[in-house]
Symmetry: C3
Subunit: 462 residues, 3 copies
């Protein structure tokens, strides 16, 4: 399935949040950013990643050219909660040769052909023996599936079902030139400091080989998000981006940071599968009403993007670990099409055509708006809480009365004034008024300039 | 648009609350009351009201013939929170004369022709100069709009757009014979004492000139409501009716009564636009679940009237001030068609035909039922809380058993007995049982007579 | 109306809960159980029951052949809260004879012909006098209604309306050979002890004469339920089955057990009308969110049975007394067609054809599942609350990764682990995950065996 690029029409599309984002990032060029992220995907696509090994290391090294992230290594055998960091897996080559000696299944053509974490193997096998090590998709006969065997030693090949059907009853020369030895688990980390120690965690997995939506899309959106955030003149929050192998990587990171970074996390987002043409999905944190949950729901509702808000469930990506009951972090997940629900999932069809520059870029915009909303969400206090203040005298209200409706900016000011009693955050005001957060926050800043509103955290008292 | 009077069919209409209201007001004659209120509107219609001035004073003086309300004056320059009572505005005459000397725009024909609070002006102007002071409605070319300029000194005329189009390129003789000088802001107040100091505030604005639904309807319904309430032999609540200029009047009243009447307010209702043929709308107080909010929702649900319950918003009438965060009073608003959503709003089409006797009278009935519900809402205590008491022995239950359903009166008694545990008011019982409050309150009184129920406030203990 | 038996197709029907129930009751044979309960109904059908008297006593005596319940007698005149145990009523014969001496209305043919609690009477009456004592159903001319006059002394006959129309204008010989004298009120009780004193109350009324759904269905389902429960090797809860006359029986039981059994009741269910072909209805307790309320709603949602969850109301069966405000016990009610809403209610058409073996049996299954759920509902604690434990190492997770979805058993384990933070019961987990309780409880037991989960009540700490 080839997905037509939406690039040429991107500008003609909805202007979702463009005005708000451009207020902070003057140079924000959607088409260029989308193409840029897609180019990064193309560069990283061929690398054979797994939960450990050179593929991950190489991926992180190339990413360092775009973002100066730190690469961390955790030795095999390190105990991390109920788990142990596994041996490091590396692979040079793998094939199955038939009678004629040509490669019938060839790792060099697609790294999906080898079951990830396959142990070294050399031997001659009859078809009936080989068959026990083959995986294919009968209902998608031309796609190669992606399979892993991290925690059970074994080996296998994945191939298109139509190729499997062509295998004759002969003897095959099988080679898996891999190593599974003590080494380390590798992950990347990039921290953008803010004025407070309170942290926002952004996490994306980096353990999938040649699959585009399922993990490269998350990697490039997180990269681009970090590049933007570090351009901001000031930030209240510290932002921590982690690029980690799924499951064992998140568990390792949590174990290593349990008493350092973890207690500082106030909000978090897992990014995965954010590059395909499907609608946006936000999966709530286990808490269900954390600020991140309410914020993403608010932003998506005002985004003009087709979207769904999903309740938390303990299956999925690394939110499983962040939201385990012993941590219960306020970490949600942003995705487009949901893992396991679209045919391309974990197959060779999750390829360069399956991810679109426009979709990547619109996912980025939601992320940027999330950060702007986090930064802007404060609890304000109306300095004239008894009756409305006289806005007209301050040039904040139209001069001629009697018209049928208040303008949008006036409504936003009236809402902020009415609800800013010290108990409501600006997000609360946005939710109750059903106005976009950006409008509410703009109104609050205008009122603050006129000393009609104070910041509760800074000791304003009414 | 001429609205056909519904009078002739009023009696044939729904009997909404008539039985309950007649229990207290034997002489309740809907048709006569509707006609009476409409006659009051006709009398007050020609007066040129504004937020200050003789128009308001004259209106209140005429109202004193029907209800002995008190007229209060607050001097210009008085500081009221963030505001200052403005200079008093009065107007004798205003016109625009053309070449021939005849009045092309004439205040004597409609007081809507002058922008309210227009400063004195005399001069000769070219059409291009005059045009900057003219307001019209291109999409309603035969209606005169209503405009104000309270807080920005200026002057202007309003006229039908078709008249504006007829103005030739000539010189015009313009006269606004107004005064804007220190004086006072005038409002009316009428208090009906009850057995307790707890107050119910009823507020309606009186600052609009020749507009019928937008403010005369509220004035006459409040008047008639007060006249009924003072006839009651006894009242638990003290009822305070305030007839005030919009915004500045409410702010002034709150400032002047901040430590006296305001702390005694337990419930309140703003009346505005209650005379047109549209469905009833109740706008909740900022609290959202105040007793007045729940009561009006309950009454309207059981009223057979088409209606909507609206969430609070900080735009509208004087609920804006009563519900400002420093007061947060439990004050809602009753309206029919909502300001700004119907074409006649703030135009000359909000005239004597736009308000109907039947609509005024049915609005009055909701108000009266609200008062009866307030008076009747108590928290009762079941004196035999363990198992049902034997109602049959007391003649409260039918003698022959086995029939398919309990009668309505029996169901009401069972609900009152079951829920009267000291935590539920009779309104709570009405809500949970989905029975009309009047049925629940009647059942409670019957059970009280048989000493099966006591009043919690009077120390009944189970 | 003759209802076709559903027996022959029962096995082919849905397998609702069969697997779960058979785990504990290996011999569970739906068809046999349904037939057995229907046979009990046939045996008890002819007895003339009322709220006191030999009919109730005889019914309980026959039930003792199937379940060794205890029969209790409470003397007439005993004060029970606002009530007094009435005199005992017994009846030997009753008839109306016409001119020819043959019985036109004959108690021997149907005990419904006599208004229950009719006082003794003998006399000769004209038709006009007799008519004042006759009850019929004009819109169901061939059915005999069921009527009572417990608390107002009088007498009467019930008959088919077509019979009533045939009565000629002659003199009738009327006889009611009854007694109404001091005696006692009789009820049955059966207690199955559990490992704790906490009790589950199951209550069904036994005061109706020849009516099948309205009360015999409840009696036989409760009987069969008790027979099953006592077979369980161990129980956490003590189960108390009470077979009592409606209203006065429940009031008497509550008065007599107020300080003994009542304070130990943790959950309760009234059974009534559980044998007809209608859908299942669960009526919530007055509390509305008691464990029994949530459990029945959960079970019915996962039952494949058409059903409705009804809010509490103070009309119905003995839940009226159990849920009176002085007790407010967590007692709900299970029924099929609701009293008063189906034409056969309280008529001779509530006969042996109106109740079905299959319906009785499926009602029994809901009751058994309720008990299994009560027994299995615990609050568990995840022993590895930080990140997921490694399920694969323990054989609890599939070996090959990358597939599109987790299996159902794995999902249940993940939900249990994620939510078992000491604040959620297994019912909470089942509700939030929308998985059947049985699946959640099975997962919990498996995790407990692997020491990944502990029972909070037994002191597990994470």
């Amino acid at each position: 399935m080839s997905v037509t690029r939406t690039m040429p029409t991107l500008q003609a599309e909805n202007g979702m949040f463009l005005r708000e984002i451009r207020e902070l990032f003057a140079e924000f060029d959607p088409a260029k950013l989308g193409e840029n992220m897609h180019a990064w995907i193309r560069e990283l696509y061929p690398i054979c990643r797994s939960i450990t090994g050179e593929g991950v290391r190489e991926t992180l090294r190339r990413m360092q050219r775009w973002l100066p992230l730190e690469i961390r290594e955790v030795p095999s055998g390190t105990k991390v909660f109920d788990w142990v960091v596994p041996n490091e897996w590396n692979i040079r080559d793998a094939y199955v040769k038939g009678r004629t000696g040509e490669r019938i299944i060839d790792f060099q053509k697609s790294n999906l052909h080898v079951v990830s974490y396959s142990v070294p193997f050399r031997g001659k096998l009859k078809l009936s023996e080989l068959n026990q090590h083959l995986h294919s998709l009968p209902d998608r006969p031309d796609w190669i599936p992606y399979r892993t065997s991290y925690y059970k030693e074994g080996w296998g090949f994945c191939l298109a079902h139509e190729e499997l059907l062509r295998l004759g009853d002969e003897e095959y020369d099988v080679c898996i030139d891999s190593t599974l030895q003590p080494g380390s688990l590798t992950y990347g980390e990039y921290v953008i400091p803010g004025s407070s120690e309170a942290e926002v965690l952004i996490s994306t997995h980096i353990c999938h080989p040649s699959l585009c939506n399922d993990n490269l899309s998350g990697i490039v959106v997180a990269l681009q998000w970090a590049i933007h955030l570090k351009q901001l003149a000031k930030r209240r929050y510290t932002y921590r981006f982690v690029f980690i192998p799924g499951t064992i990587g998140a568990i390792t990171w949590l174990a290593q940071n349990e008493t350092s970074a973890v207690p500082r996390i106030r909000h978090g987002l897992v990014l995965s599968g954010v590059g395909d043409a499907g609608k946006l999905n936000y999966k709530k944190s286990r808490r269900g009403n954390a600020e991140v949950d309410r914020m993403l729901a608010h932003l998506l509702r005002h985004s003009e993007e087709d979207h769904t808000i999903l309740d938390f469930s303990p299956y999925g990506y690394d939110e499983r670990q962040y939201c385990s009951p012993g941590f219960n972090l306020p970490v949600g997940r942003l995705s487009r099409s949901i893992h396991g629900t679209f045919p391309q999932y974990h197959t060779s069809a999750d390829d360069l055509d399956f991810v679109e520059p426009g979709a990547l870029e619109r996912s980025l915009r939601i992320c940027l708006m999330f950060a702007l909303t986090l930064e802007g969400n404060r609890t304000m206090v109306n300095m004239n809480p008894r009756c409305e203040p006289r806005l007209g005298r301050r040039g904040l209200y139209r001069a001629i009365g009697g018209q049928a409706d208040a303008g949008a900016a006036e409504m936003a000011m009236l809402w902020v004034l009415n609800l800013s009693d010290g108990a409501n955050s600006l997000l609360d005001v946005a939710e109750r008024s059903n106005l976009p957060f950006a409008a509410i926050e703009t109104a609050a800043r205008m009122l603050e300039q006129h000393e009609l509103l104070g910041d509760k955290a800074e000791g304003a008292s009414a």
